[in-house]
């Protein structure tokens, strides 16, 4: 599906939090996972800026580790604040999606 970027803008950060929450991971792997999910036009740069923001807001724990090829990779894991933020995200998502479904089904 094309042109999802505008719609995704607010939710992508939550998706990235969810992915990091499952297991410690790095930018490239997160981007690939989103692509496989069907968000084809999400590029690594987008994920990178989200990761930067998460880091600035102190929601993740970052560790640099050497990789097989090239420079060391940054690995991300959620800290307590991150887990709290993730729970808030799903609560908000639940609210928004239930409201929109109501509207769509004409009960609103």
């Amino acid at each position: 599906m094309d042109d999802l970027t505008e719609m995704l803008k607010g939710t992508l950060e939550g998706c990235v939090l969810e992915i990091i929450g499952r297991e410690e991971t790095y930018g490239y792997a997160i981007t690939r996972q989103l692509n496989e999910l069907g968000f084809a036009d999400v590029v690594e740069g987008t994920v990178y800026t989200i990761l930067l923001r998460l880091e600035r807001n102190k929601l993740v724990q970052v560790e640099k580790r050497p990789s097989g090829v090239g420079p060391p990779r940054k690995f991300y894991a959620l800290n307590d604040a991150g887990r709290e933020e993730l729970a808030k995200f799903w609560a908000k998502w639940q609210y928004v999606s239930s409201r929109i479904d109501t509207l769509k089904e004409g009960r609103g």
Binding site: G27, Y28, D41, V43, E44, T49, S67, V69, G70, P71
Partner: protein
């Protein structure tokens, strides 16, 4: 940064030279993207541009990592390099030209409105 560096900006020249050397080592198709990134980040800089050094450093880090993965620059940055740069610089807490313009605009509008209101 010592006093001499602060006055002459010699530390900046040194940093920028190091950045350019790293950028030159990137694959061919990354080069135009790097030029674009610099163009779009410069207006986000403060007076000396010192606040941009850590940002440029981390962007080069990203480009180096992805180049090592064998990814093309389009896979990494997509079509929206200006948007990427804004997202990078945004929320940095640095007082940028943009912030100042915005403040000025807000002030001017507020003044005009209060005048209208008598």
């Amino acid at each position: 940064m010592n006093f001499w560096e602060k006055v002459t900006g010699s530390d900046l020249t040194r940093d920028w030279k190091a950045f350019e050397a790293r950028a030159a080592a990137l694959p061919e198709d990354y080069r135009p993207a790097w030029e674009q990134i610099k163009i779009h980040l410069l207006p986000q800089g403060d007076f000396t541009g010192r606040n941009l050094t850590p940002i440029l450093d981390s962007v080069l880090g990203l480009l180096e990592e992805t180049a090592a993965e064998g990814q093309g620059v389009h896979e990494v940055l997509g079509d929206d390099i200006p948007g990427f740069c804004t997202a990078l610089a945004g929320g940095e807490g640095a007082r940028t030209y943009r912030d100042r313009w915005r403040e000025q605009l807000n002030r001017n509008v507020a003044r005009k409105l209060s005048r209208l209101g008598g």
